[in-house]
Subunit: 337 residues, 2 copies
């Protein structure tokens, strides 16, 4: 495996020698594809004449909003849950997420018939809690800060022997997310670039693994809200920035790169492209009115960066990973206004 | 071709002998499939765990909201436009529709590089006019009554020699609409029933042609708003009822059966199922929040009748044709309220 090339990265990696041993590879993505195949959907790849005309490019939308539990997160969660040996699995799985990963873990554990515990901070939207509870997972509430969350998860793990499956900083989760890009390339092999939203970097890392193996000449771009540009600045500065509190409508992209996803993104991605909040809202409306898809703001950022950078993408064949479609009905009028 | 079996129908048909000669057959659906193949999309068939659980059945959604121009209407319009001989086609096509058929004709004519004229009544939503104009069609405004519409279309036809392509009372249009059910059966052959919304009856007629040939044991149901139950009452009374002015949020289902679509529906469909406006709104919200699809109210009626009649559909495999996704963004807040 080549050494990450981002400036300053080598120095950081020297301090963490075990990390490179746990970076997933494309072989892990292939294993994930086989493992999740009985459970996950092969989501459709859609095109749209009007959006192609607006972008001056040929756009292929990989519709993970149509994935089970409404987001690509089910791929990684399913892979990680089904990769556990039977004895470990029987003790259950724990995670902390008020969003798509929590619902995905809950569904994956239900399918494997093992207990799931999801730690959720106070203030999480009821619709998300309902989605988690509907899968039969146990919900543990905690205060809305990282220290309280970590303590609550640690307590669950100590009490039950459950395995912690992190939303993105986990090799099996990253490998699972890479299966979306694999399917996209199977449906449309001739792509010049693939764009994936970046929050914690699990999807972008997995996308990079798939593209570097299957379409090494295609570019891989992350799409990030300008208002949550920690991944962009992390690549520029050579180390993951983790101390910001982003303010963006893209609730799924408020996470930060981990050392692991930073290493993969720095090695495999061509860069991060930024979009402002207004451009993200415009893209969201276009997805509704033109694509006829309910997508969440975190997915709209990929379309926003394409429409915002016509010079870069003009005449190209671009794959966009529509990461999810979980959105509060109550928030729609304001998002679409 | 068997004689229509609805009570009272034979008497009416005796007065119109030419009609049966122009009823399309399954062979016409096959021709349509070949003709539109280079132009129309093979739309995905989607499933959803939560909706299956609610229905107590296995639901397969044929997503014509993802069809070009946002509705199944493109299938029939494309078939009718490309079935014209070159000399006739060169004089252009005319139709009257402020809705999906108008945009579909405009797109089909653009693809065949022939002129299209769409007669649109005053008061039609700007978003629909924009969709028609964006395809390069000429728009002719007229007063918002049927007499003014018919006069305007007749004038266009007299002036230009254009061919009138009716939204549903046209054999090639009906045959084209039948290709959606053909594709649905290709994706999921083992269906116990297929449900299609019914307005003018073009989609339901085409669906019946496909099902009777390809899956003769499967049931075919029309879904109609209780507030626009002219098709239901037409079947009960044995003749098409055409003198009502329905008041329903399903703007695509305000049309009435013609003699031709009545004949086909009476022969091939198992019946019409009704849904109230509240049930249609509930189904619309479920499509958005669970299926992650933007569908129009006229499509939600098919889901509404399934959820409203669990005894009939429990344990069955049901195909639902999601007819379209064209909806005014401005109307979303009220639809979601």
């Amino acid at each position: 495996m080549p050494w990450p090339s981002a400036p300053g990265y080598a120095a950081q990696m020297d301090a963490r020698p075990p990390l490179l041993d746990t970076l997933p590879t494309f072989a892990d993505v292939l294993d994930a594809a086989a493992r999740i195949r009985p459970h996950a959907r092969v989501t459709p790849v859609l095109r749209n004449d009007a959006l192609d005309a607006m972008a001056g490019a040929r756009l292929y939308f990989k519709c993970e909003n149509l994935q089970r539990a409404g987001a690509f997160k089910f791929r990684g969660a399913c892979n990680a849950v089904f990769a556990l040996d039977d004895e470990t699995a029987a003790r259950g799985v724990a995670t902390q997420s008020s969003g798509n990963h929590g619902a995905a873990i809950a569904l994956a554990c239900r399918l494997r018939s093992i207990p799931a515990t999801v730690v959720v901070p106070e203030g999480a939207p009821k619709v998300k809690l309902d989605a988690i509870a509907a899968q039969g997972a146990r919900i543990v509430r905690c205060a809305a800060n990282m220290r309280a969350r970590d303590a609550a998860v640690a307590e669950v793990v100590a009490d039950t022997g459950a395995t912690l499956i992190h939303p993105f900083d986990h090799p099996d989760v990253i490998a699972g997310q890479g299966t979306a890009a694999m399917e996209l390339l199977a449906a449309q092999p001739a792509l010049d670039a693939v764009i994936a939203p970046v929050g914690g970097g699990g999807l972008l890392s997995g996308t990079g693994l798939a593209l570097r193996a299957l379409a090494p000449r295609a570019q891989v771009w992350g799409a990030e809200p300008e208002a949550a540009r920690d991944a962009y600045d992390s690549l520029a500065s050579g180390a993951p920035i983790t101390d910001r509190i982003p303010d963006t409508i893209c609730d799924g992209l408020r996470g930060h790169l981990s050392a692991r996803t930073f290493a993969l993104v720095a090695r495999d991605a061509d860069g991060i492209l930024l979009a402002g909040e207004d451009a993200i809202r415009d893209a969201l409306r276009l997805a509704w009115t033109q694509l006829k898809l309910v997508i969440e703001p975190s997915s709209a950022v990929a379309l926003a960066v394409v429409l915002g950078d016509p010079a870069r993408f003009s005449g190209k064949r671009i794959g966009l990973i529509i990461s999810g479609g979980n959105i509060d009905a109550a928030s729609l009028p304001s998002l679409l206004a």
